[in-house]
């Protein structure tokens, strides 16, 4: 079989085109490139047909574990994806289009993203949202930079309950700027409030928290918001969108900038991407938002239409003075998000959140009842919780992995003092049977 080739011109057409250009060969068109600069090597395999390709990739994909009973989260969650999400996002008019620079022939993308922005505002309770960022971690970093711009200050207070990956991203983003960090340790899976508030000064640009945090704990952030505002600082909250079906919105807790990862809204795990990051804020900060924003307007005849708006913030206009360097975002993933939320609907999201919460509570009780095992969280949790084990959590996880159970994320790699702790995630996809099996396997592994 021969290799795939998506170049349609025939030899006869190529000859005609060369004649029209006035050259004798295609190679002549590369004349401006000096011979001395030509590629020294281009050692790539021969091509193949699409049939051979799929065979080969199926073989490769088969080297990933196929059937794990998974209780791992860590920022990426195994949720149901309604069939309509794949089908509608597979409309080529959506996925083979570019950024909607020409609004008249891009109303599909533009209206879809306006509806997405609206969904994010309604979930978080905030007034404005952009058309997506890369992922939850980079969205948190962009929010931090936004707070530095808004306040003109250079200190950040970062809660240790934020995902270690997201904290690392924030630090990497800000490493070259004159920004000071204070990182607050957590205690028993919740923010050390005394330390957090003690770190807050009139030089603090923002307090960064995650709710629920990496340990699964939920927190009422209202008092933190109040204290922050009293010092002229902002509260940035990273949230888990599915939890917002049950949990008080970050806006009503007083958050000023809300971010999160949209993977759980209809995007497959796909070994970590693509998903999308969302960012929402108060109306008065709209000009400080990074990235694309879709706005409603009218055409010359008064019909409603949608355009990219407030573009004077962006790199293609402002260059080095832009609010961010972001250009491509994660449009299609954000579109999946709004399709997901629309197909579940108002009551569906509440039910979904409830399923997660109920199953997680069931598992918490089951696992917490195992001899020597205790639940670390003193606060309420949503669909993740942390267990304190009588032994090293990594060893237990390794043992259970061999039995086809991914029991959770051991914390030792991220919090040295918590090597005996394990974060367990229970989404709606885990059955009672699987939870019971986990409890049995854990008990056996710990005590036999």
């Amino acid at each position: 079989m021969s290799a795939a080739d998506y170049c349609p011109n025939t030899q006869a057409e190529i000859r005609e085109m060369l004649a029209a250009i006035g050259v004798n060969s295609v190679e002549e068109l590369f004349g401006p490139i000096p011979q001395a600069l030509r590629a020294k090597s281009f050692d790539l395999p021969e091509g193949m047909s699409e049939f051979e390709l799929l065979q080969r990739l199926a073989e490769l994909a088969g080297k990933n574990a196929q059937k794990l009973s998974s209780f791992i989260g860590g920022g990426y969650y195994d949720h149901l994806i309604p069939a309509v999400v794949d089908h509608l996002a597979s409309r080529a008019e959506f996925y083979t289009a570019y950024t909607p620079y020409q609004p008249e022939c891009s109303q599909g993308t533009l209206q879809g993203l306006y509806e997405y922005q609206t969904a994010i505002c309604r979930l978080t309770g905030m007034a404005v949202a952009n058309a997506s960022l890369y992922d939850g971690g980079t969205a948190l970093a962009e929010a931090a930079m936004m707070a530095l711009r808004i306040t003109g200050r250079n200190r950040l207070v970062i809660d240790g309950g934020i995902s270690p990956f997201s904290r690392q991203i924030v630090k990497t983003y800000l490493a070259n700027l004159a920004v000071e960090f204070v990182e607050i340790d957590q205690q028993q899976g919740v923010t050390d409030r005394v330390a957090l508030l003690a770190a807050l000064t009139d030089q603090t640009a923002a307090i960064l928290v995650q709710n629920p945090n990496f340990f699964g704990s939920l927190d009422d952030l209202s008092d933190i918001a109040e204290e922050a505002h009293g010092k002229g600082a902002l509260l940035i909250a990273s949230v888990y969108p599915i939890a917002l079906g049950l949990v008080q919105s970050p806006a009503s807790m007083g958050a000023d900038i809300v971010v999160g990862d949209g993977q759980s809204l209809g995007n497959p795990l796909s070994f970590g991407g693509p998903s999308f990051g969302f960012i929402a804020t108060r109306k008065e900060y709209i000009r400080n938002l990074p990235g694309r924003i879709i706005g409603e307007t009218v055409d010359k005849t008064g019909r409603r239409g949608f355009v990219l708006t407030l573009q004077a913030r962006e790199q293609h206009i402002k260059r080095h003075k832009a609010t961010s360097n972001i250009c491509s975002n994660q449009s299609l993933c954000a579109l999946r998000g709004v399709i997901f939320l629309s197909s579940l609907g108002k009551d569906g999201l509440v039910e979904l959140a409830r399923l997660n919460y109920d199953k997680s509570e069931y598992a918490k009780e089951k696992l917490g009842a195992i001899k020597g095992v205790a639940v670390l969280n003193i606060a309420a949790t949503f669909n993740e919780f942390t267990l304190a084990l009588p032994q090293d959590a990594a060893a237990l996880v390794e043992k259970l992995l061999q039995q086809g159970i991914a029991a959770g994320v051991p914390l030792g790699s991220y919090y040295q003092e918590l090597a005996h702790c394990l974060v367990v995630t229970v989404t709606e996809k885990r059955s009672r049977e699987e939870i019971d099996a986990l409890a049995t396997a854990m008990e056996v592994a710990l005590w036999n």
């Binding site: 401006p32 250009c327 108002k346 390794e398």
Partner: protein, 481 residues
């Protein structure tokens, strides 16, 4: 078209969830409980399907229209790539991070490792990180690597040089890493003015960011000299890979002297753009910069197994949660191994042929400010048409009425009334001829009946939109329910 929120009917339900198989848990404490559910629309599944299907029909796309959007490389996205990505949809990214988990994720790790190797060979670099999530994210990562490299040498330096024809992301990315930007004007031959560049160079310049071929579609004849001059001042050369589509198998930036490069997988390597993303922006570096690459990195052991390297004190840290936009990378990997060596060389040859053909057929109709053999795209100016009151945007809107997505207009910024055409290699002469005919028609209309162009488009769901009103009113979220 009505918004999805306007179609909502209280009490209507869409997708059903499984019934619970566990007891109902005690409610959350009142201060944590949501007081009122989020006002999401209430619709049947068919309502949702019809809404988004009809929305999709309000888009131009590669699958429905010729889309010669310069600098964006809107080539055909092979359908099989979508199937390829689906094979990996269920893999959780935390698996290889668990103790004993690497061996359960060998497929994903192998793909990442192999793709990095292929990209290194294609670009002539020593190692590649796949973590950056888009082209601009790759640029920022690349400049962070530059900063880390110089910081380790004792002085992170102050400036980054960009030509005035560069993508806006170049200066924006360097600014995010705390560098001051020095912009060099374009010389009459269509690329960064060599003399001005020499004068701007000094020991405080950390990097020079170049796109080659540049945004005018021209290959810089002085590129080697620019690399040499930069290196003689101990500055690094950054290659913006947005236009790599033009030179596959012809030139490798690493051979020319570039030290850091990002690649836009959604341009050169045929992955779809998704209406603005997801992209993917792997970054390649020369040996000296490898220690600073983000973590985790993937290594291959002597037995052919893949492992994660998670600790390295010199690393810049992490720029994304996990390994990058993995699903996009599967597609790019599939594209590369499917086309193979010969196929990739043909990509560039046919892309360059198509662009030169369009240029040759239109240069009597539109001003060509830099009249020389182009690479994968050509940049015209509508300045001749402007004399009749017709702007580049008017020609763009006329094209929409004729069923063509317009070329990029008003970029690069250095060309007045720019019209930047990138046909890509996947279009046939037949398609190009039809487009050329319409472009000529537009030029003739500009002479004879300019008013006809100013009204366009008239065949779309909306006519030209009031952007000022949008910016003033800032209605970015539907408020009523």
């Amino acid at each position: 078209m009505e918004l999805i929120y306007e179609k909502s009917m209280a009490g209507r339900r869409g997708v059903r969830l499984p019934a619970s198989d566990v007891p109902q848990a005690r409610a959350l404490p009142p201060n944590l409980q949501r007081s009122e559910p989020a006002q999401l629309p209430e619709l049947s599944e068919l309502d949702v399907v019809r809404h988004f299907t009809n929305l999709s029909r309000r888009n131009f796309s590669v699958d429905t229209n010729f889309y010669p959007l310069g600098s964006c490389t809107m080539k055909y996205n092979a359908k099989v790539l979508e199937n390829a990505a689906g094979l990996f949809a269920h893999a959780h990214p935390m698996i290889p991070l668990l103790p004993g988990g690497e061996k359960l994720a060998q497929g994903g790790l192998a793909m990442l490792h192999d793709l990095a190797g292929l990209l290194a060979e294609i670009t002539g670099m020593d190692e590649v990180t796949t973590q950056p999530l888009a082209g601009a994210h790759g640029e920022m990562t690349g400049i962070m690597l530059v900063a880390a490299y110089y910081k380790a040498k004792g002085n992170r330096k102050k400036y980054v040089i960009v030509p005035d024809s560069s993508h806006g992301t170049n200066p924006a990315s360097a600014a995010m890493v705390g560098y001051e930007i020095v912009t060099i004007p374009t010389a009459p031959y269509g690329d960064m003015d060599l003399e001005a560049f020499k004068q701007a160079m000094n020991g405080e310049v950390a990097a020079v960011m170049m796109t080659c071929p540049n945004t005018l579609g021209l290959f810089n004849p002085h590129i080697k000299e620019i690399c040499d001059i930069a290196h003689s001042h101990d500055a690094l050369m950054y290659y913006d890979g947005a236009n790599l589509n033009a030179i596959l198998g012809k030139v490798r930036p690493g051979d020319v002297g570039f030290d850091v490069i990002h690649v836009n997988l959604h341009k050169t390597f045929g992955t779809p753009h998704g209406g603005g993303g997801p992209g993917s922006g792997p970054v390649g570096v020369k040996k000296a910069l490898i220690p600073f690459l983000p973590l985790p990195r993937i290594s291959k052991d002597s037995a052919g197994g893949f492992a994660l390297l998670q600790e390295n004190p010199q690393s810049i840290g992490r720029v994304a949660n996990f390994f990058g936009n993995f699903g996009v990378m599967v597609k790019a990997y599939a594209y590369i191994i499917m086309l193979g060596r010969e196929g990739l060389i043909k990509v560039s040859e046919q892309a360059v042929l198509n662009a030169n053909y369009v240029m040759a057929q239109l240069k009597d109709y539109y001003d060509l400010p830099y009249d020389q053999s182009c690479m994968h795209e050509c940049v015209f100016s509508a300045s001749r048409q402007l004399k009749q009151g017709v702007h580049a945007i008017d020609i763009a809107k006329y094209l929409i009425d004729q069923g063509y997505h317009p070329p990029t207009v008003y970029f690069p910024l250095i060309v007045k009334e720019a019209i930047m055409i990138e046909p890509t290699e996947t279009e046939s002469k037949e398609t190009l001829d039809a487009f050329i005919a319409v472009m000529r028609e537009a030029a003739e209309l500009a002479e004879k009946d300019p008013a006809a162009l100013l009204q366009a488009p008239v065949t779309m769901p909306v006519t030209r939109l009031d952007e000022t009103k949008a910016a003033r009113e800032q209605n970015v979220c539907y408020a009523r329910w």
